[in-house]
């Protein structure tokens, strides 16, 4: 009787374990909280896994196919549909499409990442200067940004492609030769995609500048540089990361557009965009593999990147409790 009573009493005592309470209330940093929200975001996790698989495919694929395979012309077997020898078929000069998609994917992602990096530098510089300095600098920089936004980017891409496209040397990098047009495309896309970022950075800095914690930091004797580096930029970082992620998807589309129109990456160097540049004329002859496979890879990459971008946006928003 007495033992069973003490057992009953022991149950609530177990539930009141101070150690457990401590582990629940252990403070998480904003970064950890964001990571936790991101992990629970199903679409974002699916996107991450998908993107990793695409990257895995184009990296591991290059161990099975050499770049020579990707550029080997075989006119006898031109325009053959997918078969067991050429899983994705061959193009109009008999090159193996699977091999070209593997190497083209490396180029497309390379272009995407570097042009986003360029856009980041430009956007943060323009937006940061405009927001922090204000006054005339702000007015001139923002009017210029608006002007750049008022021309649909494809028009700008075409003109810039023409501008830089005339002098294209061939480049050697990591034992591989690239058409210099890869650099041209990076420049062109980077120069046409910094505007939204500049606006977001400026708007963020304008509102953050007026925050109490900035006044507090100033009252404690912090200088301009410290406020910018310790308070303003870290608080803008999340918006920058989200914009950069979504910008990567946009950059891959842009590469595909200019190369599709024949102004982008020049053959023999493959990119997902230029694999399709002859599809319009060949579609009437029932050729579908030449544009379906590259398009599928482009669509998958964009879709997964957009998922990740959306997930990051939700994860970075401290007010979002949806996924906690």
């Amino acid at each position: 009787m007495s033992t069973s009573e003490s057992e009953k009493l022991a149950i609530p005592r177990l539930a009141f374990d101070p150690g457990a309470a401590e582990s629940v209330s252990a403070p998480l940093s904003p970064g950890q909280l964001a990571w936790r929200r991101f992990r629970r975001h199903k679409m974002a996790m699916a996107g991450s896994v998908g993107l990793i698989l695409v990257i895995f495919f184009i990296i591991v694929g290059s161990f099975f196919y050499s770049e020579k395979d990707a550029n080997r012309v075989d006119v006898v077997h031109r325009l053959t549909p997918p078969s067991t020898t050429n899983y994705f078929g061959t193009d109009s000069t008999g090159r193996d499409l699977l091999a070209r998609i593997i190497y083209g994917g490396q180029i497309s992602l390379f272009i995407g990442i570097l042009s986003v990096a360029l856009a980041l530098i430009l956007g943060i510089a323009v937006g940061g200067l405009a927001g922090y300095l204000g006054g005339w600098v702000d007015i001139i920089l923002m009017r210029f940004t608006e002007a750049a936004l008022s021309i649909p980017s494809l028009f700008l891409l075409i003109i810039l492609g023409k501008l830089f496209g005339s002098e294209i040397p061939t480049l050697k990098f990591l034992d591989r030769t690239f058409s210099g047009s890869v650099i041209v495309v990076i420049l062109v896309i980077g120069l046409t995609s910094w505007m939204y970022l500049a606006r977001i950075v400026r708007a963020n800095i304008l509102s953050l500048r007026e925050m109490d914690y900035v006044s507090a930091a100033r009252a404690l004797g912090a200088g301009n540089l410290r406020i910018l580096v310790r308070h303003l930029i870290p608080n803008t970082m999340m918006a920058i990361i989200v914009t950069a992620t979504l910008g990567l998807a946009q950059a891959i589309i842009s590469e595909a557009y200019v190369s599709f129109l024949g102004l982008g990456v020049q053959p023999p160097t493959a990119s997902w965009g230029n694999l399709m540049d002859q599809s319009i004329s060949l579609i009437q002859r029932g050729v579908w593999w030449m544009w379906v496979f590259p398009s599928l890879f482009i669509v998958m990459t964009i879709l997964f990147t957009n998922f990740i971008g959306d997930g990051l946006r939700d994860a970075f928003d401290p007010r979002s409790t949806r996924h906690l």
Binding site: S150, I151, F155, L160, K162, M276, N306
Partner: protein, 318 residues
């Protein structure tokens, strides 16, 4: 209000001024106007004479202001390749582009309003989930993929399968015949619409959901109004407000999206003209189209802002 509009107009002109300077500099650097005179036997003196005739021997700023002076009066000079006035060249293409744009815009608005409302009213239903998934995918599709796929299925394969197939632009057709025009419009309009419908449906769905949870909707239902009347008359009006801005700002950008679509379907419009003439180094035409598109963007921005104050009396322009 009037001062606001005047200020916006001055701002717009200033922005267009920046655009023309940048665009003039870029196109002059990107295109060599003398390139077409290198073929054949043209002596050095003749080349110099042509350069002088075209005004190319003058410094770029002088050329720019001469161009600007004529451009504001609607004179864009002669095409460098066709030797036809640029304005004539553009006027031949503009109606086709407008037909394509207006039809697409009507389809886009109708479809996204219907799908957006239905998704919001039937939230989390099978239809809503499918639409959400489709709009995510649709938003990530590059327009050339949509255009090529539609063309392959409905023009190439249907022909092969002996089904009634749709025409592609590859054949010559009579633009003034309404039946021909309608048939030729279907595929390009579908290509231009899918991405936008995907985007707007998502926006409208979320803004509808927000409005439907408001008190005045419950009041309207409580006083015995039919659900359809509440949705159409009370909810949609308020939910559509943010979409109006979005559409107003996006309309001129359809011109840009149309470059790829017009190219795939060989549609005789302005986007394709731009791409063709840029390829041939025809800088006067390229400049004229750029200015036209940029003006459309700036004008639509101002119109959207002003229209917004009429639709939503809570907004005061300052």
């Amino acid at each position: 209000m009037t001062t606001y509009i005047i200020r916006r107009l001055i701002q717009g002109v200033f922005i267009l001024f920046i655009i023309t300077i940048a665009a003039f500099g870029l196109t002059r650097k990107a295109f060599d106007p003398m390139a077409q005179y290198t073929l054949g036997r043209i002596s050095a003196e003749d080349r110099a004479r042509i350069r002088a005739n075209l005004g190319l021997d003058q410094p770029i700023p002088v050329q720019y202001f001469k161009w600007l002076g004529l451009a504001v009066r609607g004179d864009f000079g002669y095409s460098a390749t066709n030797h036809q006035p640029v304005s004539e060249l553009i006027m031949q293409r503009l109606p086709q582009t407008l037909v394509l744009m207006v039809t697409s815009e009507v389809v886009i608005i109708l479809l996204s309003v219907i799908l957006g409302i239905y998704s919001a009213v039937k939230q989390y239903s099978l239809f809503d989930n499918i639409m959400t998934g489709l709009s995510f995918v649709g938003y990530s599709l590059p327009i050339f993929f949509i255009a090529l796929m539609l063309m392959f299925i409905f023009a190439v394969q249907f022909k092969e399968w002996d089904l009634p197939y749709l025409p592609t632009g590859a054949d010559i057709w009579d633009f003034s015949d309404p039946r021909e025009l309608a048939l030729h419009l279907i595929l390009p309009v579908a290509s231009l619409s899918i991405i936008q419908v995907a985007a707007y449906t998502r926006y409208l769905r979320s803004s509808m959901l927000e409005v439907l949870s408001q008190d005045y909707i419950r009041t309207a239902r409580a006083k015995g109004l039919m659900k359809s009347a509440v949705i159409m008359r009370h909810a949609l009006k308020n939910a559509a407000l943010p979409i109006v801005t979005l559409i107003g700002l996006d309309v001129p950008f359809l011109l840009g999206g149309a470059i790829v679509t017009e190219t795939v379907y060989s549609w005789p419009g302005m986007g394709r003209l731009f791409w063709q003439q840029a390829g041939r180094g025809d800088y006067p035409t390229v400049m004229a189209i750029l200015l036209l598109v940029a003006t459309a963007v700036v004008v639509f921005q101002i119109l959207t802002d002003v229209a917004y104050t009429f639709i939503d009396p809570r907004i005061r322009l300052s």
